[in-house]
Structures are given as C-alpha cells and as structure tokens.
Amino acid sequence: MNEHRLINFLLRSFVVMVFLFIFLPIAGSFVFSFNIDRFPSLPLGGFSLHWYEMIASDPAVWQAFRNSLTVGVVVSLVSTLLGFTAAYTDFRYPFFGKSIYMALALLPPTIPVVIMGLAMLAFLSRVGLSGEIYAVMISHIVMCAPFAMAVIRMRLAQMDPNIEAAAWNLGANQWKAMRHVILPFTAPSIFAALFVTMAVSFDEFAVAWFVSGLNETVPVRILNTLQGQVSPTINAIGTIVFITTMTLVILAQLLLMRRRKPASA
C-alpha cells in the first residue's frame, strides 16, 4: 500500500512538472512584458509599462492589428460557412468517394506550414494575388475551415437524424428544415466555430509570413521582430494577443455550454 502511495505521488509530481514546463514560457512572457529590463535575468528588474508604451506608439503595430482583425473577421465568416456545409454534408449524405471528400476537407492542418506557405506563395503570385491581404485570407480559410467543420460536426453528432426527417414528414421542405431545425440546433457550435477559426487565424504566422508581403499581420510582425534585435515588445504584443484569443475562446466555450444545459434537461 505504501508503495502504491509513493508511485501515485511520483506520477502526480510528474504531471505537475509537465504542466510547469508548458506554462513556464507563457507565464514568463507575461511577467517579462511588465519588466523594465531589455534582457530580463535574476533578480528581475522593476515594473514598467515601457514596452506597452512602445508598441502603442508604433504605427506598424497598429497596422498589424488592423490587418489581423480584417483577416480574422473574413476568415472566420467564410471558413465557418464552408465548415458548416461540409459538416452537414457528412452528417446527412452517404455517397461514393466520401472518404476522399472528407480527407480534402480535413487534411490542410496536417500539411507543414512551410510547405503550405511555399505552395500558396508560388500559386498566389502566379495569379497575381501574392502580397495582397486577400492572399492571407485565402490561405487562412483553407487552414481554418477544417477546424470549423470539426466543431460543428461534433454538435451535429449529438442530434438525432430523425428530427430532420420528422420535419420533412410534417411538410417542411429541405430549406425550411435547414432553417428551423438544423440551424437552431447547431447555432452554438456555429458561434464557437466563428471564434475558434478567428483565434487560429489570429495566431498563424508561417503561411501569412510567406504570402503577406508588406501587409504584416500581428504574428508576422512578431516574427519579423524576432529576426531583428532583441525586443521585449514581443512579450507585450504576445500578452495582448493572448488575452484577446482567450476571451474569444472562453466566449466560445460559454456559448457551447449555455446551450448544452437546456438540451440535456
């Protein structure tokens, strides 16, 4: 029995260490963003908002935030629409070649971002879109639609397919059944997908770096800063982005939970 206790204690300590490792850089960047030192070390220097003031007065950062926001809104709307239609197709129709269809719909996130970036750059510059902000949007929609599809498909999996059939039997045509049965049921997951895809787009740096040209998004701005000299402004930007994305994700989570309760009651 004592041996069991010891092993369990060791295993739990191991879990704590893994989580410490995972959260150390996140907590670090938060702390460093308020630290006056350019090269933080022990003992830590004093509290300062210097790095936040620096990014606030940097027009390139403001422009990057505007670009990220524009891209994020368009990407979340289009990829959620595409994800919804794909999820519904998977839910509703068995057809030949469906596994290939699903592979197309789900594969993009498994392609290494460098390869995606190069492929999109080569293709989009050929059609004259490279360096435009549309290039970032198009690439991000390709990468985000699978996430939207996964989120909405999981919600559809909780639905009895007979409900839709019942609506047809009661005289609703397919569009009406879609409008009054499927859409209300999946609404929370649609909002969740909107937020998740926006968060993914807001965080994507590699493909955007390849195709964005002068239209830097926030992560591209960070990458370009990282290549130059050391600048703790990265931590300040990172902290702001973290708070933004977490707000989006928590909103998405709340939406999903709020609807689940009455459904299970």
Binding site: V15, T89, P94, P112, I163
Partner: protein, 306 residues
C-alpha cells in the same frame, strides 16, 4: 426535446416527397440539388486553393529560373542539383533524426502524464487539466519561443538561477537542447491530449480483470493499457513527427539554425532569392517523407493483433 424542435418548424402543406423516399445509409453516386449546395462549396474551395497549389508546387520543381524569372518547362535539373548536394542530404538526415528523436522523447514524457491524468485524478480535476492543456494552443508559439530565449540564454534566467546555486553557466540556447525545448513546447500539449483521449475510453474492467488475475501494475500498463490505447498513441506520435519535421521556428531561434533543417532551407531558399523551384524540390521531398511516415503509422496503428 423532439417536440420542441418540431414546434419550431412550420408545418406547411408543401411537403416534398423526394426527401421522404431517400433511404438513409445507402450510398449514392449523385446528390440532389439541395445536397450539392452543401457539399460543393468546400470541395471547390479546397480543390482550387489547397490541392491545386500543392500540385503546382510539385510542378514548379521542374521549372527553371532564367534571368530571375521562373520559366515553365519540364527539366530534372533542380532535382539533380538538390539531390546531388551533400548539404541537402545532411539537412535531410539531421531533420529526420531530430524529428524522430522528438517523437520518441515527447511520447515517452507524455505517456506517464496522460496515464496519470486518465487514471489518478478525479473527474473535476481531469476536466480542469484538459482545459489547461488546451490553453497553449491559443498562445502564440512565437511568443513562447521568445520567452524561452530569455530563460535559456547564456545570461538568462536559468543560468542566473544556477549561478545562485554556485553552478557555472553553460550554453542552452543555440544548441540541440534548445531545439528540443522548442519541439516540446510545440508538441507536448497536443500529444498528452491525444493520448489522454485514447486512454479515457479504455474499458476499465479490462484493467480490473488484469489486476484480479494477479497482473502487476507495470505489466498491466505494458500488456493491457498500452495495446488498448495504441491507435491514440501512434496518432499522437505521428502528429508530433509531422509538426517537428516541418517546424522552422525552434531550430532557428532556439537551436541557432546550424546545421540547417529542411524547413530552414526552404525559408532561406525562398526568402533570399528566386530559387523557388529548388525550394519546391525540398518541399516535395518533405511531403513524400511525411506520406511514408503517415502511411506506416496508420498501418501500424490499425494492424490486427497477432
């Protein structure tokens, strides 16, 4: 619940009958117009903006660069150039070794962690831990990398802490160790999550049966838990391999960029000139390698038990 949904739908008399005659579960060759409206958008989008760019990437590996412009043609020149260069194969072997090493190490570290979360924590604690594991996906990988630079650099936090203990500082940044810290940052949460999901669905009675039959803890883990969770563990390892094989941030900003990996070769070749066809050769080689790895992993995961 059903009646709720039905009340919401107007029961007009214009019911269409073709919907009622469709047999659920039966595969069809052609979808009705309504179905096409839903199945086509993503298909068209991904064909144009996903499949075609990837195919185009392979195609330009046969193009040539003349006067700083790419010329469509079909020559094996880029292939023979790249594949006969020692620096390419050095990078290839280095990338493969680093990614394979990361896959093994991350899986080995993740498993005890996922196992403990799955079997040794209460349900509420489990949910909180899963939530915590999801958090890193919404923090910028670049920002975390930069944060590690501060921890690992020669005058950084870790060396300062070691100095307080009277230990001489040693190089952690710009070494293979640095690259691995980055790889762990990139993959560990995902691998733990994927392993955890496969462990949570193991039939507990199997484990109890093993215990009842006098099987020790370690043997139970090795002979019952591991095989039952094999698919999840292999898929997690595959994702780890794909991510580390293609990552250019950790090798460059934590590993120092020397020796180069395939992905840093691609970014260098692409960003510092017009040699996109050569970069396309590297990318194609990477895709082929990943396809082989994925195929092998899936075969192994779904292999029937002997």
């Amino acid at each position: 619940m059903i009646s709720d949904k039905l009340k919401a739908s107007p029961s007009g008399l214009s019911g269409n009958t073709d919907a009622q005659t469709q047999h659920p579960g039966k595969k069809v060759w052609r979808l009705p117009l309504f179905g096409l409206c839903f199945s086509m958008p993503i298909l068209i989008w991904q064909l144009i903006f996903f499949v075609f760019p990837l195919a185009f990437l392979v195609a330009i590996s046969f193009w040539l660069v003349r006067n700083f412009r790419m010329v469509p043609t079909f020559e094996w020149l880029n292939w023979s150039y790249m594949l006969s260069r020692a620096f390419f194969w050095d990078a290839y072997v280095h990338t493969l070794a680093m990614a394979a090493g990361a896959t093994v190490l991350v899986s080995l570290v993740a498993f005890p962690c996922a196992y403990t979360i799955a079997f040794k924590f209460r349900e509420s604690a489990k949910q909180l831990l899963v939530l915590l594991l999801v958090t890193p996906f919404f923090t910028s990988y670049l920002v975390r990398t930069y944060s590690w630079q501060v921890f690992l650099s020669d005058n950084g936090i870790f060396n300062a802490a070691l100095g307080l203990l009277g230990i001489e500082p040693f190089a952690m940044l710009n070494t293979a160790f640095g690259t691995y810290v980055g790889y762990f940052t990139l993959c560990l949460p995902l691998v733990v999550l994927l392993q955890l999901f496969s462990l949570m669905y193991i039939d507990r009675s199997l484990i109890e049966a093993a215990h009842n039959l006098g099987c020790g803890r370690l043997r139970t883990v090795l002979l019952v838990v591991l095989p039952s969770a094999r698919i999840g563990i292999v898929v997690a390892a595959l994702f780890c391999f794909i991510l580390t094989f293609g990552d250019f941030v950790s090798p460059l900003y934590l590993g120092g960029g020397q020796p180069p990996t395939l992905s840093t070769l691609i970014t260098d070749t692409t960003k510092s000139g017009q040699q996109w066809p050569r970069a396309a050769v590297i990318a194609t080689m990477m895709i082929v390698t990943l396809l082989i790895a994925a195929f092998g992993a899936v075969r192994f995961a779904y292999r029937r038990r002997a």
